[in-house]
Symmetry: C2
Subunit: 478 residues, 2 copies
């Protein structure tokens, strides 16, 4: 037992030090390794397999809504980046600059894409001539670079993997519809696949994307009561189209500007999975994105018939699930800890006694429940339990989020909540950026979003007492 | 008919100007667009969908042979790149250098990865301690940058998409076995999926990868008689392991160096598909990687019942195939030309007369054959025809390759063949780099590979008349 203890003890408890717990999980579950390049991470097989499953399912949802994948260059000439004023101001301070190719100095610097609006715009200005060319519904999966000062695996890194959708439409209405549609695709995906409930809403002027007319966001609540911006969808109006001259001849034979959107989610979602579902035994993965959904651990595997039966079960369950049989020479207890650390949703224990009784034990990763089952029913029972884990995780996350969502009517109340029970705080706001900034300075909490589902908490702004315009979700955030 | 003619005439005939034909196909089939970044291409939906299908099937073959995907940083610090002497000499002249992050100058330059051996080695030196940690069978899908002077879409570009496998093994034998195994995975994939037959062999010392002990290659022959290096697999021995101190404690408790391999294919394969299967009507896609395998073109679609029946067929065929119904208001002839240009393997024509007779017409893209079928049998007939197209393309490509593979016993013969009927030339070689270079200077042909299947053409080197050691495939190449 000494060895097993050691493995478990190696993680800092999340109640003691949440940040350290996060780092421990990321390392011990073998999701990433640090690299020799500051702020860049190596995504190891366990981490990348989660990304692949997430990517495949999200990509299917993009295709089902009519989007097509493309690939744009990773470099943006400085002059191209500068075409849209707000955009360059927002991004230029945090890009990596290529100045030399081989031994030659370039006549114009190239930045490594921090996001690809400018490249898509340049392409669209070539491609779009007529209303028949619209809409363009493109997406790309790639890596982007932002020169961040402080970094943390998945949450904030110099380079990260993401997808960026970029669309062009004939009218402002269609662009707005697309922006909201994709926000909903994200929110549904996060709930149904990642088992993470989202608050949907609009970003304030201060928090919106550089160059956007409106930015919408999905926000989730982590275990420690901090919020995580989990995906954004931007309506650009015709601002970029004017800067890049993306014009089309409409049916009425007049020249019009296109209306554009962009939307993205990134490997940050893996950070959300860790911080929403994880516990003091390590990672907890929702079955829908678990690279291994079921691990079979034979007990006393040297005894005759045990491995044969385990292999038989593996073949049977592999028809519907991603299954692993751990027949290494480690002790069962050690294996339990290891697979718990890696977040495998369901463990099947099978020993000589079980085989004698034609039974097995299912152990749920999410709540530790042990279920004794008849081997004749193993397929149904595993399917049932996997479904229960997936829905159970969502319910647990929603309960946690709801229990940690508070209402504040005064700054005193607001500050007290943040100190005692950090979480989302719903409060009224006058719409003034000055108040938003004051709240941030005083409390460290930022306006996460103006939710679509508004409530009428009070009549006045929590900060300045002037008439309130909107209810806002505030929180400290990653 | 005027419009249809125009579309077809817009392509240069490959007999007139093969390079222009290639460029025309790439543009008219809407595979890529040029970008404002020199040498970088925009891969459009039609092109990217081919890459996705290719990637998915190749990735499955990697997984089936035990490989795991990971993601490494896109930047390599200059000092890391310099750790292996031959490697840095090979790549440093053609890398892009990042010198600034935001407004700060970096203390050490970072290159954008031209290939990731050094990053994998750094990671492996952390991860590998014991024989229990071996083998490591990693792969990554990413984009890489090489600062090329002259570029052509898919064939040679500043940035391109690829996969790079990087493995570490306990013994030299295992590394050699892996190197050959992955070369075979590539060759089988190219034959079975891309319908392109490959010559497998070893690169000469002069042509091998910077830092490798041995490089193996698959070489294919294009329509114009030039060869295309289509994939490579390298055995590094323990050279990189020594430079990066990748050591493990073996079962006998002694410290040993790991043995490594790497292997890659890229979007270049799309170039091969174009130049092996394409014709003067445009692209011809093997069904296995065709984003649309079957296009249904209704004739007189305004007539009652035509579109209904076409939609019914679409639903039926979509069970097993990627099917598109073209119900736009273009003329049938225009649609034919357009879908031929895009290389869709099979066209189904369906008009009022056909419906009356309970029939349809299948038209093969590869050879233009028209097949009248009974609608009751459409599923079987389409399946049969799609299979026939896939195997037909491979056979045609193999015949073309074989008919354009020659034997030369003297330099006169060699040069005559190259001028009159360019293709592969099999010739004997003494093994001396000087002769290889002389042949290249005189003829422009390079040693493509020393094939695994050797033949005994003559006893002496074609260049110097000294005793021959190996038969080599020579050709002019992309």
């Amino acid at each position: 037992m000494a060895k097993e203890k050691k493995l478990v003890e190696a993680i800092t408890s999340m109640e003691v030090d949440f940040a350290q717990w996060y780092t421990d999980v990321v390392k011990k579950a073998e999701l990433v390794d640090y690299s020799g390049v500051r702020g860049c991470m190596v995504i190891k097989p366990n981490g990348y397999a989660i990304w692949e499953l997430l990517q495949r399912q999200l990509d299917q949802r993009f295709k089902d809504t009519g989007h097509q994948n493309v690939y744009m260059p990773m470099f943006i000439p400085e002059s191209l980046l500068q075409k849209e004023k707000d955009h360059v101001e927002g991004f230029a301070p945090e890009v990596a600059w290529v100045t030399h190719g081989g031994s030659e100095e370039l006549t114009e610097r190239l930045c490594v894409r921090p996001t690809s609006e400018t490249l898509f715009c340049e392409h669209y200005s070539n491609e779009i001539q007529s209303y028949r060319d619209l809409p363009k519904l493109y997406n790309q999966w790639c890596s982007v670079v932002r020169w961040e000062k402080t970094t943390r695996p998945f949450l904030r890194s110099l380079e990260f993997l993401w997808q960026e959708g970029h669309t062009a439409h004939a009218t402002a209405e269609e662009a707005e519809e697309e922006t909201i549609k994709m926000l909903n695709v994200y929110a549904d995906f996060c709930e149904e696949v990642l088992a993470i409930p989202m608050i949907k809403g609009q970003k304030t002027e201060k928090e919106k994307f550089a160059g956007a007319k409106a930015t919408y966001t999905i926000e989730s609540l982590m275990h420690d009561g901090k919020a995580l911006q989990s995906g954004t969808s931007h309506n650009f109006g015709d601002g970029f189209a004017k800067a890049f001259e993306i014009q089309y001849t409409d049916k009425d034979n007049t020249l019009k500007y296109a209306h554009q959107t962009s939307w993205g989610v990134s490997t940050r979602l893996i950070g959300a999975i860790i911080m929403v579902h994880g516990d003091n035994n390590g990672l907890v993965l929702p079955p829908a994105i678990a690279p291994t959904q079921v691990v079979i651990v034979p007990i006393a595997q040297h005894k005759e018939g045990v491995l044969d039966k385990a292999n038989e079960l593996k073949a049977l369950l592999s028809k519907d699930f991603r299954v692993k049989l751990d027949d290494t020479d480690k002790s069962p207890g050690w294996k339990f800890s290891e697979h718990e650390m890696r977040g495998i949703p369901l463990r099947v224990e099978l020993g000589p006694k079980d085989i004698e009784n034609n039974q097995a034990v299912l152990v749920r990763r999410d709540n530790g429940e042990k279920i004794f089952i008849n081997l004749d029913e193993i397929e149904e029972k595993v399917a049932e339990t996997i479904a229960a884990i997936q829905s159970g995780l969502l319910e647990k996350a929603r309960n946690h989020r709801d229990e940690n969502t508070f209402t504040a009517k005064s700054m005193d109340e607001f500050e007290k909540i943040l100190v005692e029970t950090p979480g989302f705080i719903k409060a009224m706001w006058c719409g003034d950026t000055a108040c938003e900034e004051t709240i941030k300075e005083k409390t460290g909490a930022t306006a996460r979003c103006i939710p679509f589902e508004q409530e009428d908490i009070s009549d006045t702004c929590i900060c300045c007492d002037k008439p309130a315009k909107k209810m806002v979700y505030f929180a400290k955030a990653y």
